[in-house]
Subunit: 317 residues, 2 copies
Amino acid sequence: MSAVRILVTGAGGMVGRKLVQSLERDGSVGGQPIDAVLGVDAIAAPGVEVVDIAAPGAAEGLLGSRPDVIFHLAGIVSGEAETDFEKGYRVNFDGSRLLLDAIRLIGNGYRPRFVFTSTIAVFGAPFPESIGDEFLTAPLTSYGTQKAMTELLLADYTRRGFLDGIGLRLPTICVRPGAANLAASGFFSNIIREPLAGRAAVLPVPDDVRHWHASPRAAVGFLLHAAALDGRLLGDRRTLTMPGLSVTVAEQIEALRVAAGDEAVRLIRREPDEAIMRIVAGWPRRFDARRAEELGFRAETDFAQIIRVHLEDELGG
Amino acid sequence: MSAVRILVTGAGGMVGRKLVQSLERDGSVGGQPIDAVLGVDAIAAPGVEVVDIAAPGAAEGLLGSRPDVIFHLAGIVSGEAETDFEKGYRVNFDGSRLLLDAIRLIGNGYRPRFVFTSTIAVFGAPFPESIGDEFLTAPLTSYGTQKAMTELLLADYTRRGFLDGIGLRLPTICVRPGAANLAASGFFSNIIREPLAGRAAVLPVPDDVRHWHASPRAAVGFLLHAAALDGRLLGDRRTLTMPGLSVTVAEQIEALRVAAGDEAVRLIRREPDEAIMRIVAGWPRRFDARRAEELGFRAETDFAQIIRVHLEDELGG
């Protein structure tokens, strides 16, 4: 059992940070001891090397140590990819492609496990009530388009034997800790995180909006599970919709009430925002994530659990 | 009603040539008179300008006259894209992207109708008995991957308002006239065309192989119909699976027998080829092309018609 070298792109992001912490705490992945973890990000952060993966030569540099497992989390979020068209394609698509191509060009039997974080934004309305594993990817954002294109590359590069890829379509991560980012989905977390900390939060959509969630802890669990999975079990379809929890905003608020009382709920201010409503209307609400469940991926099964994870992991219980 | 300028990439290919002939014969498209047709291809052919669309600056050059309708047919075929990995991505994906980006960068209200020929090879096994309009694109070839990625770009660039795109997933074109190309699907045509001309043909798969066909005449009809279609009728899903005919090789051969007798059928030599069988096993066999049918696209409804089109269009009836 040889020690594995790990590369994490987007290591300064919320999930990336938690992933690196988890790897360092465990000291192993899939039962194999970890030799080294290299975390990189476009933005400076503690313990992270600053690398723009879309810059010429950057991808080759990251592969100098021939990492055995690559977690490719780097990317700009949906809101920013919609605002800055060229940056979105450059980072989210070209950056991913450059990394995949740099692996391909090493050759010589180098065939790392490549875990790619995709998104449920590869899907676009109209949807069936529950989206199965064979539903088409018809994104309604540039972000979703860039991720769907990368999923296609991942499958082809795996089929060709250049790498051993697994893509994970993450649910919306809730409750996101820290400051809000530019993702249009931010309010799903804001309305829980802010009231729990005694601060006001804005709800820009109606209470009956339904969405698909998993905690940051579940997301890290997906990534670690994917790193250790036997790739042959996936066949040629290399990207999996991750399990999650389908709840309405009203159900989120009810779980907040149980956890923190009416006082917390009163901190939520309803300010309908047409732009956000329009984006959210094009998002999926529920999945039947059968393939991922059969492969052992697990998420929370009620929103109280998601709040409990936030209290434990971010607020010291 | 102003005269329209037309650009055809891949104009030297089999379908491209027939499309240009048809446009020049009609003198109009969608009821509008044609001002000029510019046909380009990577390979020299009569009446065609030689352009490598993936070369720097080539796309900008093609748009100098601001064509109102662009038929983007250029591409290398499935067999070649599988053999030459880098060329496939360069021509089929990067070439398409450069053209789309050159349109985007013109801006200033320039928003041409962009008709893109995609392929049923964007789908990969396992399939349902009949593939509907919401089935996932999971290609099992690099060719299919490159086309599926371009479909995604087409939809996003249309949604963004850079162009008015329509993608057509063509059935396998049968009967292809002329010499065989590198497409693995070539035998579907060879077993009809060659015996009709008194020549032997090789059948590399079993008689019960089922596939999805349309004639070259139907393919040109799809392209012309797409050029004139109101893009708003498509909504955000810009690529349509074209109607076609689902038949087995045995049914093809039976239609050949009716058209040209036992003598013709005896010219088919069975030489099973494992490589071709493996590729074909990953191809779809039947579609429910409801969206395209509702939008007025029409194909042949029996294989005798497909043979008749070949006799009329290629062999003077």
